[in-house]
């Protein structure tokens, strides 16, 4: 299973302080998110990745302390539910 970020034209990402605002134009919903969600969205905006590939980039770029593929998969499902991330076919 691959994941990719929603079309960048549908998102407004505004970092405030510890938290980041994400306005989703397609739904009109404002999401208030903590790390690593903005980082996940930035990586998935570069191109589709599976959980292992995404985790590898997060570890490499952000020195992730506790890399847990299961937790990341749950977080990705939440983002899919919110419309901020889309599942895409591996083929």
């Amino acid at each position: 299973m691959l994941y990719r970020a929603a079309d960048p034209a549908t998102l407004r990402v505004v970092p405030l302080d510890a938290l980041t605002l994400v306005y989703h134009r397609a739904s009109g919903i404002t999401h208030i998110v903590d790390a690593p969600v903005p980082e996940i969205l930035a990586i998935l905006a570069e191109g589709p990745r599976n959980v292992a590939g995404l985790l590898g980039v997060l570890v490499e770029r952000f020195d992730l302390a506790d890399p847990d593929p299961a937790a990341l998969a749950v977080r990705l499902d939440e983002l899919v539910g919110a419309g901020l991330v889309e599942r895409t076919c591996a083929i």
Binding site: R12, V14, L16, D17, A18, L21, Y23, R25, G28
Partner: protein, 283 residues
């Protein structure tokens, strides 16, 4: 409607119709120095009506409606008709306003800089705004702050200040020469008395101001102040806005700009005197 009146508060014009003369006579008296709507065209209509013809005279009760309504809103006795008219105007603003980002906040201004005060009912928004007016601040409003989505400027909405319970006497002592409406006892929020904003507030109600400080006051605690991060201010202000969602991206832009450009503080206070000193020190 048998009786009609029109008035403008800041940028918003109202046309109020009523089955009874009495509530409109009170409005006409207390708003006598306010202008008519621009070009005579109101933004919102308010209707004060009896649900049945005989209820105009027999235990008269005032139902509130208008362009925007809340189903099953409880009516008020005719003796509280002035309050019904004020609630009707507030209701139109809260449900129908699209020209500005509406924040449930009181607001005062000095030297072109506006201080917004927002919080839950009982936090002291109206009382603090009235007491600051007594100390020479321009009252911009005790209920709604209107943020222009294009410019970020705050526009005034200086309706009658709604003073409740203990605040009635506190403000009457601070403003002995001010005009007040009748004391309305036994309302859903206790005793209410309306204060007419001073001549400065009315004369300058079309003059917007740059927001310079956002305060989250809380009454009944030891004096304390702490900075509020933009993210917390954002969340609290979305909760205090009735039209953030309906404005969509315009509301998002206006609110992110506000919290990124204006510092915010939470202040706890045990009494009005302490609060006034805290506001004047921070502003």
């Amino acid at each position: 409607m048998r009786h009609l009146t029109q008035l403008r508060i800041g940028p918003i014009g109202f046309r109020i119709g009523s089955h009874w003369r009495r509530p409109l006579a009170a409005l006409d008296d207390l708003y006598r120095d306010y202008p008519a709507p621009h070009d005579g065209i109101a933004d919102f209509n308010v209707h004060l009506f009896a649900a049945r013809p005989w209820r105009r005279v027999l235990r008269p009760s005032v139902h509130i409606a208008g362009d925007f309504v809340i189903p099953d809103a409880a009516p008020l006795p005719l003796a509280q008709g002035l309050l019904a008219a004020e609630m009707g105007m507030n209701l139109q603003m809260a449900l129908g306003l699209r020209r500005f980002l509406l924040l449930h906040a009181s607001m005062v201004e000095r030297n072109g800089r506006a201080v917004l005060m927002t919080g839950i009912s009982g936090a002291g928004k109206s009382t603090l705004a009235a007491l600051l007016m007594a100390r020479g601040w321009r009252l911009m409003g005790d209920e709604f702050a209107l943020i222009d989505c294009a410019t970020g400027l705050a526009h005034a909405f200086p309706r009658l200040v709604s003073l409740k319970n203990e605040a009635v006497d506190v403000v009457a002592q601070a403003l002995p020469g001010a005009r007040f409406g009748p004391l309305l006892e036994g309302t859903p929020k206790g005793a209410i008395r309306h204060l007419v904003p001073d001549a400065c507030a009315i004369a300058a109600m079309d003059v917007p101001a740059e927001p310079s400080l956002i305060l989250f006051p809380r009454f009944g605690f030891e004096a304390a102040a702490r900075p509020v991060l933009p993210s917390e201010a954002f969340v609290r202000l979305t909760q205090s806005s009735t039209n953030y969602v309906s404005l969509a991206e315009r509301g998002f832009d206006a609110l992110t700009r506000l919290v990124q450009s204006v510092p915010a503080r939470a202040i706890d206070y045990p009494d009005a005197e302490t609060a006034i000193a805290m506001v004047e020190a921070l502003a």
